[in-house]
Symmetry: C2
């Protein structure tokens, strides 16, 4: 985390985050929510992801596969968390690409990513965001311990 990190406060409760800080926050967590749109209706599912080198990797179950295969256009991966007296949220918009080549699957498997849950993983997905936005928001005193 940068030393000169600006933090929001009561007078200025919302700060927009720059791209570097968004990547840093994404790299520090593996739980996000993937939102997709299908026939102009949204759907959203929790997913494990791994962010590194301006690229996001997801490891999906059959449930995720069925949802993303019918997804049209762009998807959004959202992650959020708490740090000190603020909460942050990062949204990465882009299109998902399913990894299918044996070489790229082998490269991913060498990373030994550990999804949280025991559901069988059937596909790897890559999200290279075309838009990355983040906000940090001050937490009220009753939630600030």
């Amino acid at each position: 985390m940068s030393e000169d990190l600006r933090m929001p406060d009561a007078g200025n409760p919302t700060l927009r985050l720059g791209s570097d800080e968004c990547w840093e926050l994404l790299a520090g967590t593996t739980l996000g929510r993937l939102a997709v749109s299908y026939r102009n209706e949204p759907d959203v599912i929790p997913v494990n992801f791994w962010a590194a080198e301006k690229n996001i990797l997801l490891h999906g179950s059959e449930y995720v596969r069925d949802i993303v295969r019918r997804a049209e256009h762009q998807v959004v991966l959202e992650a959020d968390g708490r740090s000190g007296s603020s909460v942050w949220s990062v949204m990465a918009k882009g299109t998902l690409r399913e990894l299918t080549g044996p070489a790229e699957i082998a490269a991913v498997e060498r990373r030994k990513l550990r999804p949280w849950t025991l559901t069988r993983r059937v596909l790897y997905l890559e999200l290279e965001p075309s838009e990355l936005t983040g906000r940090r928001i001050a937490v009220g005193p009753e939630n600030n311990d």
Copy 2:
């Protein structure tokens, strides 16, 4: 939490939850993610919500208002959490209604709901789900402490 709660395990890692259990889980948290669709592209934002009596109330900032006012069709509110050796996720789909009548706004204000963040709240929204689904998924041993 019901005494006879079924829990997922390695042999059967995903359990679908019934409506009562979904409501019980929603009532136990106030942080969710609201997914909307606009011109067939998804958007997702963290929101505070309060679930009670088969009804969900959201208290939105200007940022939320701008996103939901342009949202078309249905929205989805997703909440998730961890309990013991499983994680759960509940999705409530429906349409949002903005509360505008002074009597209904006064009734909500008597509930003294406390959003986490300091951003100014400019609207109350009600979501009466037309579809409520939930899953409980077993967590792998390396994430099971």
